[in-house]
Structures are given as C-alpha cells and as structure tokens.
C-alpha cells in the first residue's frame, strides 16, 4: 500500500488503511470499505450447489439467479433465526462477498502472481511483504451480528476472521447499534424488518440494552408466504408462479385469462432442484412486493372501522387496484388483497391461513406493536420516552409502501403519552443497508481505533476476548 518513496509517518498511516465492513444477513450479505456510503459488494447469502463432471461445485453471488445449472440446489448457511448454522459455508459465502469485488480472489492477488519476483527496483517490493495467502491480511474487519447472537457464534466468528482470513484487527458490532449510528443517533429504538426476522433493539448511548431485544420471524419471507397463500386462494383460479427460467416465450393475454406461454422442460436428471425454483419465485415475489403490496396506512387495523363509519376494508377496496404480470404472462389486478398480505405484521388475526406454509400462524406476541411494547417493557422507564422519540426504521422489508405510516399510527395508539418520532431514511440504499452504513461510519472514526481487537490480543486471550471487548 505504500508508494515507492515512503511518506512520513505522520502523513498517512493507519487511518488510511480502509477497514472492510461485513454485514451478513439472512437474505443478502453486504461488504464494502469503511468510509464509503454504500457497500460495494452485495451478494445473496444463498449459494448454489450442483454436480458437474462428477464433482460438487458451488456457486455464489448473483450468478445463482441468472444461469440455471443441472441439479442445482440452493442453500443458506444461516438459520431462520439469523444465527449461522453451517459455519464452513458461511465462511465461504462471506469470503466471496469481499474477495469478489474488494480484495480480489486469492488467485489473482497481485502479490502472489510474481509481481514481487521481478527484480526491478522501480517496483516497490516492500508492499505488504508480510502478507501470506490469507485474503484479509491487510484489512481490519468489522463484522455485524444480530443482537441475540450466542457467545459460541461470536467466538467462532472471530476465530474465522483471525485464523482463516488473517485479519490484523477485528471488531464485532450489533447491527441494531450500527443502524442507530447510521441514522446519526447514539440512543434509539431500532426497528429492523429483515428477510427472516423482524427485530427491535433498544440502544442507549451506543450500547445495546440486551433485555429489551426482541425478535420474531415475521420478516420478508413471512410476507412472501402470505402472498403465496393469497395466490392459492385466488379466484377465478389459483395463481402459480412460474419463474422466468422455465419459460421460453410468453404471449400477451388479457387480465385474468390463463397464461399462454411456451414452457421449457429439462430432463429429469438435469432439472434444477425445487429450492432453486423457490429462490427464483422469491424474485418474482419481491417484484410483487415492490409493485403491488401496500401496508394499510392506518389509523387502526384493516379490519377496524374508520372514523367515517366505513370499514377500512371497504376503503381499501375502493382504492385503485394494482396490476401485476407474472413471468408466464398471466396478469391480474390486485385490489384490497394487496393490503391483506402484510396486515398480519400488525394484527395476527388478519393472517391468511395456509396449512402448507412453513410459517406457523403468527401469534399476537410476534406482531410488531407487541414486540415494541415488550422491548420497551424490558428497559428502564426513564429512557422510554427518549427511545420513542428516536425510532429508527431499517431493513429492506420496511420499504413496503405505507409501512412507516402504519408504524407511526400504531405507536401513537400504543403510547399516547410521549412524543413518537420515526426516523426512516427515504433513500432506498440507506434503508436497506442501515447497519452496514453504521459500520462504515464507525470503522472510519479515528476514535474507533482503540476498539479494534488486534491479532496480538487475540493470540493472547483467545476467542473469548470478543465477549469482553465487543459488548
């Protein structure tokens, strides 16, 4: 990293070595250099596995969405609760997230391709001489974790970072805290609507209040399951989602008419696994969420009656429907239903029942208002008004249309006394990458330097140091 004539020590040094911020989530993994405003690398945490030429192959990144492969199956190293289940694969996926766009794959690392072998004094040979085969040998690493990450998982994380990746310095930060930082707050109630989880994290003076951390599985994937349930019950006929890869061409049809598409078939031994199809259906569903789904903005539940005596349901029905076309050309207008699929985030009774769904019917305690109530119940009475005045909304699923309006109404109903103020960035990237951005800010602060756990400290104290240092 040094130019040929090394600058004076004071000129540039540690501050300029950009740390890497890695924010692993259930659905996507974000990685980038500290100090930047968005992660350079955004990859799905899902990875694909298939057999070719008699050996198992793995694919990572966006590639899994684009090219179907024979017998391809999709897996996720992270469990539904946001805690890593398959450490070997988690390590590989995470490693891909920063080697693909940031540090370069090991094979193409300039240092190991003979650059230093050239006997040319014009070329700096002192460049990272100490670096070995490890991908992060010259970058400090800041990683994020869920607020309920168990001790074992934290220790395992630092172990991977230190021993497998060879990072010189490491820190593990709670994503709730970082999302608060991203919003410019040291104290906040962070409402994170992710893919597999929604979580409430009270943060006070940059410290997580552990007793107040609440989470439930009603995230984006749950909403998808509700949409599927809706499709199943759709009239005149149930809607099946056929992903693009199974369709060779489609013909325009009238709304509500059966699709006329030419389908592709794969021989049975080559057809991609059902998990692959599910992943690509999920793509269509997220498009559906973007284009069609809307949160009933409140006030009151969708099932309640509005101030004018007209039921909210009626109101929803009178609003213009949104059309959506599926990959096979089937298209339909969605009316009040588009409010219904997310209603159970606030009102468990409104859930669309689907016996086949992997999600059990939600309980009222899992809904957002109850979670927030429980979370605030777990923290000191004195700071509750302060937290309510600083509610930070983050997570990609919070981008559902009308979500913050509804949350605002719900909170005002729950807590009529103190002033409720929601801070939700309007910028899509800021909302989606809240915890990454917070990490980017934190790691680039000059004062943060004393917080890093150095390799030496790790060697001295072992993996348990992460418990002492990263509170």
């Amino acid at each position: 990293m040094n130019p040929s004539n090394p600058p004076q020590a004071g000129e540039y040094g540690g501050d300029e070595v950009s740390a890497i911020v890695l924010d692993p989530g259930y659905s996507t993994t974000r990685a980038g250099f500290a100090g930047e405003d968005a992660p350079k690398s955004l990859i799905p945490t899902y990875y694909g596995k298939y057999n070719a030429d008699g050996q198992e192959k793995l694919i990572y990144g966006d590639d899994i969405f684009v090219t179907p492969r024979p017998g391809l199956s999709i897996h996720n190293p992270i469990g539904k609760d946001g805690i890593v289940e398959d450490w070997d694969m988690a390590e590989k996926v995470w490693e891909y997230s920063f080697t693909s766009r940031l540090t370069g794959a090991k094979a193409s690392n300039p240092l190991h391709n003979g650059l230093n072998d050239i006997s040319n004094e014009e070329l700096p040979t002192d460049m990272e001489v100490e670096s070995d085969e490890k991908p992060l040998a010259d970058s400090p690493l800041l990683m994020t974790e869920a607020g309920w990450n168990p001790v074992k998982a934290r220790e395992k994380t630092i172990e991977i970072a230190m021993e497998k990746w060879g990072t010189p310095a490491f820190y593990l930060a709670r994503n709730g805290v970082l999302a608060a930082f991203a919003a410019g707050k040291a104290s906040a109630l962070v409402v994170d609507i992710g893919a597999s989880n929604i979580s409430i994290t009270p943060v006070h003076d940059g410290m997580i209040l552990k007793r107040g951390v609440q989470h439930s599985p009603l995230g984006g994937d749950y909403i998808s399951s509700q949409i599927r349930a809706l499709f199943k019950k759709n009239s005149p006929q149930p809607i099946t989602i056929t992903p693009h890869y199974l369709i060779s061409s489609k013909t325009a049809v009238e709304a509500g008419q059966p699709p006329q598409a030419k389908y592709k078939t794969f021989p049975a031994d080559k057809a991609p696994d059902a998990t692959y199809r599910a992943l690509l259906e999920e793509r269509t569903l997220s498009e559906f969420k973007e284009c069609v789904v809307q949160v009933w903005p409140g006030p009151n539940k969708l099932s309640a009656t509005g101030p004018t005596g007209v039921s909210n349901e009626e109101m929803a029905r009178s609003s213009p429907g949104r059309p959506f076309e599926f990959p096979d050309g089937y298209n339909q207008l969605f009316g009040a239903d588009r409010f219904r699929v997310v209603e159970s985030l606030f009102d468990a009774k409104a859930a669309i029942p689907d016996p086949d769904s992997i999600f059990p019917a939600p309980t009222q305690a899992q809904t957002l208002p109850e979670l927030i109530k429980a979370s605030l119940g777990g923290v000191d009475v004195d700071i509750r008004p302060h937290l309510l005045n600083n509610v930070v909304v983050t997570g990609a699923s919070s981008l559902l249309y009308g979500f913050t309006d509804r949350l605002n109404h719900e909170l005002m109903q729950l807590f009529p006394g103190p002033r409720v103020r929601i801070s939700a960035p309007g910028n899509t990237a800021e909302r989606r990458f809240g915890s990454w951005i917070g990490g980017s800010i934190l790691a680039s602060l000059g004062t943060f330097h004393q917080m890093w756990i150095s390799k030496k400290e790790y060697d001295e104290h072992g993996a348990n140091i992460v418990e002492k240092r990263c509170k």
């Binding site: 766009r101 690392n109 050239i118 009238e254 429907g321 949104r322 207008l333």
Partner: protein, 682 residues
C-alpha cells in the same frame, strides 16, 4: 519486462529537465492544464487492447490495437510482444497494420520509437472495425536484427494476461502496459486514462494505479468504468450497458452517471463471441471445419443472427440437426487463383511486397482518402462481375434468405520459393472460398454440450441478466428508462443481427402485455408522489376519482388508444440524452411503482462522430449480399466505450483540470497512496 531503450526516452528526459523547475512542489490547488495531444488512453480487453495517444479534433476509433497477449521472453519472467523465432535472418518486416480488434492473427507491430513518432501516419482512421475493411498499411521496414525473426503464423506459447476481463497474469499484464507505453512513447507530461473492466476488484485497481504511477511516473491517472465510458460515448446519463466481449458479457445499469454495483452482471461467462464460435464449431466441426475457420465464418458477412421465430431458408428443419448433406462444406476455387481477390487480404507478410497481383492489392490511398465502404463495395462488385458464372439469380437474395453462402477463408501458407534473404521461411496469406449452409444462422442457438449450464443460448442468458440487473436497481422509477436505453457494445455484438435478436428475446420473455400495464401509472391522479417516509397523502384517499371500471379489467376491452399510449410513452426520442419521458407518468403513480418493462429499445449513437458511424453491427463492410448488408450501419458502434473515454479524458484532464476529482494527480498519489484512487475513479 521486455523494455527496450527508445529514442523517446531521450526526449522524455529532456522534457523532464525542462519541466522540473517549473513545478517545484506544486500543491494540489491547481494542476497545470494538460494538452489534448498528450493524453494517453488505454482500454485493455481480453482480446485486444486499444490505445491512443492524444485526442484528435473529432474523436475517432482507437488508433492502435494491440493484441492482449505477450510471449515469454528468453529470460524468465519477461515478456516480448512478438513471437520470436530464432533464425539466421537479417531482415524483419513491420507492417504497421491496424488490425481490427477481432483478428487474432494480426499483430500490431510498431517499431517503437520510429512509429510512434510519426503522428501523421497514424492519423489515418485505421481498421474500420470489421475484417474486410482492414487496410493493410504496408510500412515495410528493414531492421538490423540478426538471428531473430518474428513468427506471425502462430500464437503458440502466448500468454493472455486478461481472461474473461480478469487480470490473471499480472507480470504479463504489466509487460503489456509497458510495451504499449513504450510503443506510443508519450511525452513526459502525459496523463493516462484507462478503461477499467467491471470485474476488476478494488485491489486490482489499486495495483494498476500503483504500477502506472511508479513505473511511468505519470502526472495524472484515472480509471473509468467501461460501462460509464459507454454512457459518455452515447451522451446519456441513464442506460443499461451490455458489453459483449470475447468470452464474457457485462451487464451494467447506469443511473445518473452512477454505476449500480448491486445486481450488476459481471463477467457472465460463456456468453461472449467465443461462445458463438464454439457453437459454430460444434455444428460444423464434423464437417471438417477448424476453429479458425469458424472464427472467420463468424466474422464474415454471411453470418447472421436471425430474430427468434424467423424461419431459416431452405431445409431448415434438417439443418438444425446439422445433418443436411447439401450444406457440406466445399472448398472453393484453388487457392492461388483466389488468394489475392478477397477484400483486405492483400497484405503479404513476406519480405517483399511486390509479389502480388494488382487486383488483389487494395489501394490504401484510395481507402484513406475516400469513402471506404464505397470503395470496398466497388471492389466487391468488380470481383463478382469477374466471376461471371456465379451470378445466378439467387445471389440477388438477401443473405438471410439464401440457403447457402460462401465466405473467404484466409490462412497462412508457407511460401515455396526461396527468398532473397535466404533461409527465412515466409508465409503468404492465402484465401479460399468456403461455402456453408444455414448453420451460419445458428450461432446463438443452444449448444449441445452445455457443460454445466442449462443454457438456452447466449441471448437468453444475456436477456435474463439484463432483467436481473435492471430489477436490482433500487430506484424503481428509473427501471423503465433503463429498459428503453439499452447500449450494446463490445465486439461480440458485431455479428449481424445481434441487437435485433437480443431485443427479440427480451420481448418474448420479459415485455409486459398491455393489459398488465394499462391500469397503472398512466392514469393521472391529482396527488403527487408520496414520500417513502410517509407523507400526508394517504393512499386511502386516492382513486376516488376513478372507481368502477378500473377495478374490473377483465370486464372491459382494452382501449386501443391507451394501449398506444402505454407503448409509446417511453423513449419517444431515442437517443435524446437526459430526457425521461416517464417523468410525467411516474410522478402520478398511485402507489409503489409499476412493473417494467413495457418496452425495450436500444439507443442510437449521436451522429456527430462520423468515424463511429458505419461500424456497428455488420460483420464486414462491403458486404456482398446486397441490401441487408448496406443498411446495417444505423446502430451504434461496438467501441463506444473508447469514444466515451476520449470524452471523459477531455473533461477530466483538459476542461476541468481536476476540479471534479476526475483524475488522481501525482501529488495526491504521493500523499495518499494507491488506495486513494477510489476517490477519483468513476
């Protein structure tokens, strides 16, 4: 590293001495302006690296094309640009032939100092971008070189430092950069702008930055992303750039001059020009075609991608199986007769150039001064007139109606007679005509040996990637515009019909039917767009104005006027930069946003770059097959990236002189190290 002393060195040293007292410890505040003619542009690619020193008055295609490969030198770890064969020979030929990008056999040779010095000679627009137009510039030179001679006939042992856009061999890549730098021999005060491949990681860029600053001591350096460069070239701020390269495709969504890294299709493998050649080889291999033949067939003007669903001429059904005996490859006229006749083959690589028949020699002067395509077309006409008997009525048919067509295959054949120099083995380019059947239309059809991919042909893979990339753009209101602003660059896209066929696949798979979009944003509402943070306009209030009919779409026929409106609204003025025809409709969306795409279009390159005009999307100028060959020029060129890089260089280095952080200066490099390049690159 294969450097040799050049006379340019001396000049540079002089310049250094002159420049040194002028800029002692200059601070960052103001850089001295750079001159147009001093700017060095380098565009590394997997196959060809384009380079140019100086910005001409009107921007032209790259002046120099270097094959992106080096040969190991005798000394370990060093590389030579030419394949050297040991010989007892005292002469060496340099034909400073601007080989078009996709001709692997061609070697750009420049006797470093001499050639780069003569700017005038280089000013000619070289290599009209396609094979046939490649105009041999016979700058024959005799050089004292004992024992070694260049071997142009084979690339055996070549090291390709860039594969699929990735730099796989750094020492070789550096050697190539050094070779290019020395060959062009820029003066001391030369900033460099390099077009960066999307696949290069942040560390890669730092390494290149470091190398450029340390090795060439440049006063300024910048990297521009290839997709962004294409947007500059087209003069648009929002576009989807599809870069079809040798063996990979990059798909990038650019919004407001910002590259969307997320969802970007980077180095999509098995989709480039090589994949098409492979497919041809698969079809024709059993017929005795070599890969080289297929490569040349792909580039010939008889090869064409027909839009999906188009019936193939003749016995298409059987030809698809590759079993039509009638299309068996036939070797054409005997080589010696036909050799000098084909377009652009006049170059002899032997020592003497006088061994050619007159009719085979292209009049370089005529080409340079006059209208190239016309000239070549005339050549072509003469040729077919001479053939006489071949002029049966079928030849009047457009290429895509003909069942069979022939192309000129060019190969190296050793020359028999003894040369004056003695001992030197010389080669001549030798042409023969090869006839192929409808296989030439099938080069994007799904391959039999799919390997580990369940691909349905490269066009579908690319289309899927485009869909994925655009869907990943966070600003949903931009997606419709992105679909209507497709830019297709890269030499892989030069095969005739590529653009139309790709658009055809996109239409088949992704374009939404009018009934799915008719009820969306186009209906004006009196409410403005609610803010994502929750404005006061609650959607519950909306739509009171349009009850009833909107709600039961199936019950009503689709109003044809509205259909027309939906379909015409985007891109009314294709190529108009900065215009977003959707602004009005997006503004009035009732909630969320509407699905895309309702249409897909390609952009047109601005017409004020005449040199870039006639290149696009036809394999070869002077196409013999009549009307379809001539009318292909409309689409933009595949080298718009280079055009954009010239514009960017003009802006970064000359116009704003670093005010917008368009490039990194030497001072900033010294202060901040290579990692600071990320603050400057675009």
């Amino acid at each position: 590293m294969g450097r040799r002393p050049t006379t340019g060195r001396g000049r540079k040293a002089a310049a250094a001495a002159r420049a040194a007292p002028i800029y002692p410890d200059r601070q960052l505040t103001k850089m001295p302006p750079f001159k147009d003619e001093h700017i060095l542009l380098i565009a590394p690619g997997s196959q060809m690296t384009l380079a140019q020193l100086g910005l001409p008055e009107t921007f032209t295609p790259a002046r120099f094309r270097f094959p992106t490969r080096m040969f190991p030198a005798q000394k370990e770890g060093e590389y030579e640009p030419y394949r050297i064969r040991e010989r007892r020979n005292e002469v060496k030929i340099s034909n400073g032939n601007g080989a078009p990008k996709e001709t692997p056999k061609e070697d750009v040779e420049m006797k470093d100092a001499e050639f780069a010095g003569q700017d005038g000679a280089a000013n000619k627009p070289e290599g009209e971008g396609a094979d046939g137009a490649e105009k041999p510039q016979e700058t024959t030179q005799v050089i004292e070189e004992v024992l070694y001679e260049e071997d142009v006939t084979t690339e055996e042992g070549a090291v390709y430092p860039i594969q699929d856009g990735r730099i796989v061999d750094w020492p070789c890549f550096y050697a190539l950069l050094t070779h290019i730098y020395n060959a062009l021999s820029p003066p001391f005060h030369t900033p460099i702008l390099m077009i960066a491949q999307p696949v290069w990681s942040a560390r890669d860029r730092e390494a290149i930055t470091q190398f450029i600053f340390e090795k060439f001591k440049v006063p300024g350096f910048s990297l521009i992303d290839s997709a962004l460069a294409a947007c500059y070239g087209y003069g648009v701020q929002t576009a989807t750039v599809i870069d079809v390269g040798k063996s990979k495709v990059d798909v990038t969504a650019v919004t407001d001059f910002a590259v969307n890294e997320h969802g970007r299709g980077i180095a999509l493998q098995g989709c480039g020009g090589d994949a098409m050649t492979d497919r041809l080889l698969e079809l024709l291999g059993p017929r005795g075609f070599t890969r080289e033949m297929c490569e040349q067939l792909k580039r010939s003007n008889i090869t064409e991608i027909v839009p999906p669903g188009t019936p193939l001429p003749g016995a298409a059904a059987t030809a698809r199986q590759g079993s039509n005996p009638a299309t068996a490859a036939t070797t054409g006229v005997d080589g010696n007769d036909s050799a000098p006749r084909g377009p652009g083959e006049g170059t002899q690589t032997g020592t003497e150039t006088n061994g050619e028949e007159d009719e085979g020699v292209l009049d370089v002067a005529a080409i340079v001064s006059g209208n190239t395509t016309e000239y070549l077309a005339n050549m072509e006409k003469d040729k077919s007139a001479k053939k006489g008997s071949a002029a049966d009525p079928r030849s009047k048919l457009p290429n895509n109606k003909k069942e069979k067509a022939a192309f000129q295959f060019e190969e190296f054949v050793p020359m028999e007679e003894e040369s004056a120099a003695g001992g030197a083995k010389r080669y001549t380019r030798h042409n023969r005509e090869i006839e192929v059947g409808v296989e030439r239309f099938l080069l994007t059809s799904p391959s039999q040996q799919t390997g580990d991919r369940l691909s349905s042909g490269i066009l579908e893979d690319i289309a899927t990637q485009v869909h994925h990339t655009i869907l990943a753009v966070p600003d949903a209101t931009k997606r419709s515009e992105l679909w209507d602003s497709l830019i297709i660059v890269g030499c892989g896209s030069k095969v005739r019909g590529f653009t139309q066929a790709l658009l055809g696949v996109i239409t088949q798979k992704f374009i939404l039917s009018p009934s799915a979009t008719i009820f969306t944003s186009e209906i004006p509402s009196t409410f403005s767009t609610p803010l994502p943070t929750g404005g006061t306009n609650t959607p519950a209030l909306m739509g009171q104005g349009q009850p009833g009919p909107m709600y039961h779409p199936a019950a009503h026929g689709v109003n044809p006027l509205l259909v027309a409106a939906t379909h015409n609204n985007p891109g009314m003025m294709p190529g108009t930069p900065g215009m977003d025809p959707n602004v009005a409709s997006q503004h009035y969306r009732s909630s969320g946003h509407s699905q895309t795409p309702t249409s897909a279009k390609t952009l047109r390159l601005p017409e004020y770059f005449p040199d870039f005009k006639d290149q696009g999307n036809s394999n070869a100028p002077g196409a013999s097959a009549g009307p379809s060959g001539a009318s292909q020029g409309g689409h933009g060129t595949e080298e718009a990236c280079f055009l954009g890089a010239q514009m960017a260089a003009k802006v970064f280095f000359v116009l704003d002189q670093g005010l917008t952080k368009g490039y990194m200066s030497r001072v900033e490099y010294n202060d901040n190290g290579p990692s600071a390049i990320h603050e400057f690159t675009l």
